[in-house]
Subunit: 207 residues, 2 copies
Amino acid sequence: MKQDKRKLIYDALEKLMLTVPFKDISVETIARKAGVGKGSVYYYFDSKDEILDNVIERSYRRAIREYFDNVQSESTALGRIKQLFRSVIKKDFGSSRQNLIVTLHLHDDLVLHNKLKAIAVQELSPILTVLLEQGMEEGSLKTEYPKESAEIIVTVLSVFLDNTMTTQEKTSVMKKLKIFANVLETCLKTSKGSFDFLFDSIEAEYV
Amino acid sequence: MKQDKRKLIYDALEKLMLTVPFKDISVETIARKAGVGKGSVYYYFDSKDEILDNVIERSYRRAIREYFDNVQSESTALGRIKQLFRSVIKKDFGSSRQNLIVTLHLHDDLVLHNKLKAIAVQELSPILTVLLEQGMEEGSLKTEYPKESAEIIVTVLSVFLDNTMTTQEKTSVMKKLKIFANVLETCLKTSKGSFDFLFDSIEAEYV
DNA sequence: TACATTTTCGACCGACAGTCAAGTATTTTT
DNA sequence: AAAAATACTTGACTGTCGGTCGAAAATGTA
């Protein structure tokens, strides 16, 4: 079946990316790892980038599934936002399957980071938009444009994860996260400390 | 003299980039335009990217010079921040020499955008840091960490300029700029409307 | 079996960043 | 002024890699 072969190929890329950055993996290598010829790769995908898209989209879909599996434990919008964030950055999911998103953000690879950001916005911001709207109904937060706010939040966090984490000193990173948590609070007019989970989680996982 | 030849080469690249995106310009082409052999390019630069760095750094230095030439007309920190921002995004400088920064942000080129962001942070955030500190002394704004705040502001604006402008609809862009101006106001605790110049300027120049 | 369609494959192509050896020009040394 | 050393110039060449292509094998269909 056509889907199976496609899966074979992006599974191979995913495995390779656990140890080698995308930019250093050739299509030839992906093909060999998948046990098919290079030509077949191009039979199932239009470009090398399209294979990567599949890997990243699946990672986000896994994180999102993890989120929906746990969301009922939180009833407030803020609690759910926290849950969503946790699902995205936690190191692994239940079955000890590691969360690629975290790993990939540590790679040194422009194309990859750009895709991570684009796909994060595409996959996460609709969910966050709904949560912001829920928060407005609850009265726990306020924003004029939930859709745009959600996109901004996801974009900025994504940029944070790649650019800031890898190259800068811990203290600077923590200061920036504090600023960002503060920005969210004041802008969404939530109660003080609502977004402290941001730097708590990141400190625990990364720093 | 060694500096002259280097200049010859990145001048050539700059001219080419007015019409062709960096990623579509080969080192061979740069060499031809500069009137030297390809080997010479690699005698004066270690890599193709290093030539680009020079072009972008010079663009920012020009914008910064423009800023310092005009800064005395504004005495308040907020006025100067506005001036700095204007200098960076204005379409051209006095002698009708166009501002490359604006042009380059419209290119569709990952590597280029990444460099623009990196060099913007490197060149602009020290200046903005000083202005934030001045604002704190004046009492016109408040921030716990001026250095980190400055970096965040420059980074976010830079991401805005590439990602948002090119791909999205006007209304969405304007909403995001409003949010961002609002974020700055609430976070720096400035008076209402202090950053309206952001979307005024951008609307005038781009949208 | 005969024919059509789908899938597989790796040799090949073109593009391009970067290297290198062999030269030429310029400066320094004697 | 000659010789030696150094600085600069060059384009053919290399290696790599994303993507193409056409021929063949596998599968489906009658």
